[in-house]
Assembly symmetry: C2
Homo-oligomer: 414 residues x 2
């Protein structure tokens, strides 16, 4: 009888843990959320299932929907743009700055229309986008800036951490500077209204109810928002926050060691870092001058890989290297050239591109984004695992040795 009585006493009456939602998980979430606020200085943080989920949450909170345009970049990972399609809005692509590989503010300005609702710049490869200029532009036009900082957690602009600069910022833990093997991510904002509305994108009713105070948000809590389940995972990312800056500084030192020694290279342009910007080097991305070298980028990369240095053409074929050459999948490249954008049909009936609410249906053409398209053909990246501690100057020297060895023998590759 003791066991039996215990089981009722333990779980009966007012249970600590309930069905449907696991409150234990919420306690961990709150720990990481509080740490993220302290680390970045942002007022609000919410853990979610991925960086993609964080972006979707921000776009939903900003009220982006059918017929609305969101200006972003095509020189990015798919999730940036997928999040816009996910809320049925239309991605409009601005070109990139050829040195930082992030959004070109002037081109963004040109792309603003009365249908524009938000700007979604990407801190690509770990270099922050020009968020202060974009915030000024957004203020001028009454827009919101949702920053995709998935590759740039730990980055800074003028001494301020990303997460505390844009209206809304998305972080990711999957393979990123602040890491969890389980994936996961978070959104950060200083805007209470965005914080609460973003809960509706995919949080459990109990989470919305526990965190929101606005009756206009709470009245939707019983539906749990847009039907997604963005339950937080990867809460062990908290461990990495404890020494995020130490590991980041070590990686930056390694990358600067490479850059100093590649500055005068005849075929290879090392990464540029804009003054005042802290580049956290999720990747170390160079440009390859195939014409000057007389050897294609792909041939150069294969030779570099053979020397034990792992490098990829991220936008073109990263994550595709396992494809057998006989498998005719569509190549990558800037997002506007991929199948979904050429066909303009994701959910059927042209949705969301050709939705009747879209005033000017977008057309995505080769040549639209000359810088993005050119850089996609020249860029290659060293993987983060070559760059982060325990790798040090000796490892960097081995990478340089491999690059020099390949470049000294280009004749054999021609």
């Amino acid at each position: 009888m003791t066991k039996a009585r215990t089981s009722l006493a333990l779980f009966g009456g007012e249970p600590t843990l309930g069905p449907g939602h696991d409150l234990k998980s919420s306690w961990s979430e709150r720990g990481l959320e509080q740490a993220l606020c302290e680390y970045t200085g942002a007022r609000y943080a919410k853990c979610v299932s991925s960086g993609t989920a964080a972006l979707i949450s921000g776009l939903f909170a900003a009220g982006c929907g059918p017929g609305d345009e969101v200006i972003t970049v095509a020189f990015t990972w798919t999730a940036t743009v997928g999040a816009i399609l996910r809320v049925n809005a239309v991605p409009i692509f601005a070109d990139i700055d050829p040195r930082t590989f992030t959004m070109d503010v002037k081109d963004c300005r040109r792309k603003i229309t009365p249908q524009t609702k938000a700007i979604l710049p990407v801190d690509f490869y770990g270099h922050p986008a020009p968020i202060p200029e974009l915030m000024a532009l957004a203020e001028e036009h009454d827009l919101l800036v949702i920053e995709d900082a998935c590759q740039a957690s730990a980055a800074e602009i003028d001494g301020v951490k990303v997460g505390n600069i844009a209206h809304f910022t998305a972080f990711s833990w999957s393979g990123k500077p602040i890491y969890s093997a389980s994936g996961g991510g978070a959104y950060l904002t200083n805007d209470r209204r965005l914080y609460e509305r973003a809960l509706l994108a995919g949080q459990h009713p109990t989470v919305i109810q526990g965190l929101a105070t606005d009756p206009e948000v709470l009245k939707y809590a019983s539906m749990g928002g847009t039907g997604d389940n963005m339950r937080a995972v990867g809460l062990d990312a908290l461990q990495q926050l404890l020494d995020a800056d130490v590991r980041t500084e070590a990686r930056i030192r390694n990358c600067e060691y490479l850059t100093e020694r590649l500055a005068e290279h005849p075929y290879l342009t090392p990464p540029y870092v804009r003054p005042g910007y802290k580049h956290v080097y999720h990747y170390y991305t160079c440009l390859w001058d195939a014409e000057a070298a007389g050897v294609s980028r792909d041939r150069f990369l294969r030779a570099l890989n053979a020397e034990g240095v792992y490098a990829v053409a991220y936008v073109t074929d990263a994550n595709y290297r396992f494809a057998p050459e006989s498998n005719p999948i569509q190549a990558g490249g800037p997002i506007h050239l991929r199948t979904v954008f050429q066909e303009r049909n994701l959910y059927g009936k042209g949705c969301p591109f050709l939705c009747p609410h879209v005033k000017n249906p977008p057309v995505y053409r080769q040549g639209d984004l000359p810088v993005s398209e050119r850089i996609a053909e020249q860029e290659f990246s060293l993987a983060q695992w070559h760059l982060s501690p325990p790798c040090d100057e000796q490892d960097m020297q081995l990478i340089l040795d491999a690059i020099h060895k390949v470049c000294d023998n280009l004749g054999a590759l021609r």
Copy 2:
């Protein structure tokens, strides 16, 4: 130098683990997927981030999109219906059978229109929906049956495990009969085409590319589908598969012990189990006859909770019990009565309910689903943790004692 050389030798050339996607996770996924196929007999299984993600994957695979109708039930958890909205299709509600609380086949037949694309029944509380009849109906009308078995992993119909009966089946691990504290879920199907197309709903490009063979699927791999990240979590659910049937049988014995002793109760109707159907009792759900008892269900439940038996009115207010009474959030109840359905506007501009592609915009009214609405006022459920091992007959007797004590003292509650 040794460390440095090791780091290049370890990661250089052809790496085992790549950036962006964690292949280690894929190995675990494949283990659970193979176990799910062996356990259910289904040909294909894919682990995803949640049961919701599995449902969305199935609806996307079935081609459900703007203007399409999906027939489901309103007597369910929000995720069932949220998944339909998520692909921009329109939920059409069929009423439920008053004994099994699952889809009424006759009412489903009445709701079929030329716009119907799929039927989404729910194995609610752990009792399988009438899938064989729905499959026959679907065949008649060239529809697909996507089964929400999130509360019924381990259930069976005529000796066949769910997951191996409908065209496509969604499982969930979050608090469910097969459990992981991290959440997660899976989809199962015998249809190779559905299996492959479902990958496009939210899998990483490398996953799509590694698993799909259809060029019509592969050509979208570079975009990673609809922009969601449905990366699998909760892979420790595999541990529970090893003894899923043993634990399920123990829970069934406990529930049958209760049912035998509640069969003649004057105010309370214990769960019904349809012959040939294995009810796995995610909840043990009874009906309360408030009129005969002269005491409202809510008052009865509060008294039962005070006796240490945790019971909730799941559809009406499960997951809302933490709400202070002063917090005026919208009550639950059958899904068609909740705010999103009354306002018919989720993504803005009436999407997806009033989308110009919708032929007959749905209207959701009180009274539309008399059985669902009536049962929602009568039902209450004992939580799974009272029912599963290590709880045994002694615990069941304590629950019965508590019920009898409350019922013997109803006068004090009137």
